[in-house]
Amino acid sequence: MLKPSRMKKVEIIGLKKYKEDIITKIQHLNVLHIKTSNISETNENPSIIIHKVLSNLEKIHEIKQLLKLKQNMLKTLIGTKHKQIELDGYTDSAFTHKSELFINNIHKKTKDIIKSKTEITKFEENIKNEINLLTYFKSIHTDQFQKQDTSQIIKGFGIVKVRDLREIKKHIVIKITRMDEDNIYIAFNALKSNWDKYKTKIKIIKTTYNVMPLVAIEYLKQDLLDIDNKKIENKNLIETIRKKEDMILAIEERWQNIKTRIRSERHMGCTDKTFIIEGWAPQDKINQIHKIPNIVLSIQDTEDTETPIKLEHNKLIKPFEKLTQWFALPKYNDIDPTLFIAIAFPLFFGIIVADIAYGIIILLLSTALFMKTSKDTIKDISKIIMTSSIIAIFFGILFGSFFGNLLSFKSLFNAMKNPIQIMIFSLLLGFIHTNMGLVLGVISSFKNKNYPRLIDSISWLCLEIGLIIYILTKTSTIPIIYTYISLTLITITILNQTRKGISGIIEIPGFIASWISYIRLMALTVATAWLAFVVNLVAISLSDISIVLASIPFIIGHAFITITNLISAFVHSLRLNYVEFFNRFYEGGGKEYKPLKLNNKYHKINGENNGCS
């Protein structure tokens, strides 16, 4: 639990004629993380197949992009639940043929829709611009300026610069319809003999319809309505494709499985007749590899830092692995901090929220999200928030807080009346948390023989013990010898830090500041309590007028506090773990364990993924 799952190093040697069969079986087993081999001689590149696979996946990606465009933020967050499609009867060659036909057909429709959408957007923009421009010429009601050029006269609408106006006016009949800082909008009527001279100074406005501006605007508005109809048509076409989304995803998943299998071959070493696969498998699943026929197998213990990392925890702690992953996976011989973060994160979250009502609301919201979502990451985060909100309810009882001070009952702490009590509690928690990090730092550095880091961790412990003893000598009557002991311990830390230069000296106040950083737990709790108090005050004062009126600031205010509280509690709890705790012992940098496997979330083939026969 405090270390990543134990792995074994595996080498599989086989004859090339069995290669595809062996790889397929390894893929079925879902246990072997393949390593890039360094003994490759003639590694073949199955380029024709991979080209086909990539081309099909690219087409599916384009289709999915089109379907995604219509999703709103909430839907993106929640995701869509999909059926698992049975692809029975789809043997490899039949699958290739059938799926290509299916995907090509939808891809063609997708391309047409995308093309149509691009044209519509461009057309719509042009029409809107034209309508905007024509509104400047609304005052033109005669055909004196209407664009119907004769052999002698040129008519139309245009834009001229202010500086050119005087000269143009002398030779061309114009009517000014609008002026702004730089441009003048004019309707003009010019003799062809003059036109060549001035045409460079008039920027002609091209119009779709040769009618009066007001009529043209009406025609253009009609065109906009036609565009709306076209949009609806496209939307319906997208919905038709969406109905086939389950099948598209199933086919994509199968192609992905084929791609993974082909790609894995790149990581194998080959000779003329044999191939070798190197990799790692979890110790408890190593027996499954023994069942693969026609191979020579070598299994060794490993302490290699290259070994991929598989975190393994029980159901309650498992979601918190996500928080460890967000920072960085541990190295193979490092301590896995998931257990610690699974304790500290909900605790800090609970203290920051510390309200029965907010805790219940957050619990309900996260439960709803957990039930609705189809995304694994969102499920994990929902579970983390569910656990944390239960702790928030517990601290709400301790702090006597229900929507702030709405219900008053006897409690152990009170964020508004006695914030100092909570400050001391927060600092005490911070002291325990940072010291736990230091102790883990000592253990980890000792095990990994990282002696400079070991000395650092011990010296910080010396500083803390020294400071505590020193304070005790000043506040109570303990023998003078303890003063000397404390000063010696503090000096050891200072000397160790001096060794690193100025940055080392600066680290001493930084070390104390990182402990004081836990004061944020109190600050955020008190801020929440006071915000809730203000919202209640406004609502209660309005309740004399009307209960309905009072409920508006009450609901909006408390909804706002709940959301901000949820975000700040999450971010600050995470920050305290990442910055103040992890910094003491954790480096990270492990590579994720990704076994060669068959994905079957969206599709199912009887006999596939059932292990090795």
Partner: protein, 80 residues
């Protein structure tokens, strides 16, 4: 005299929160912009970016803590 002291304490508390929050806000804006950029380039940066974005908020929280301490102890002394 007491009224003046209460006023000064209140101004002090307000300045502690206001100035700290303003500086923190400016800093957080810069940090979050960079964090979003980093996450857009590499999704694995999300966790670290989130924590780093919260780093600058610390100063505002310290300001708030000082304000609380000023009010709790300051008002207490004034009343006494």
């Amino acid at each position: 005299m007491v009224v003046a002291e209460i006023g000064l304490i209140s101004i002090g508390a307000g300045l502690a929160v206001g100035i700290a929050a303003a500086g923190s806000g400016i800093g957080q804006g810069m940090a979050v912009a960079a964090a979003i950029g980093a996450t857009a380039e590499n999704e694995n940066m999300f966790g670290k970016a989130l924590a780093m974005a919260a780093l600058t908020e610390t100063q505002a929280l310290y300001g708030f803590t000082i304000a609380i301490i000023l009010i709790v102890f300051g008002f207490g002394l004034v009343v006494v």
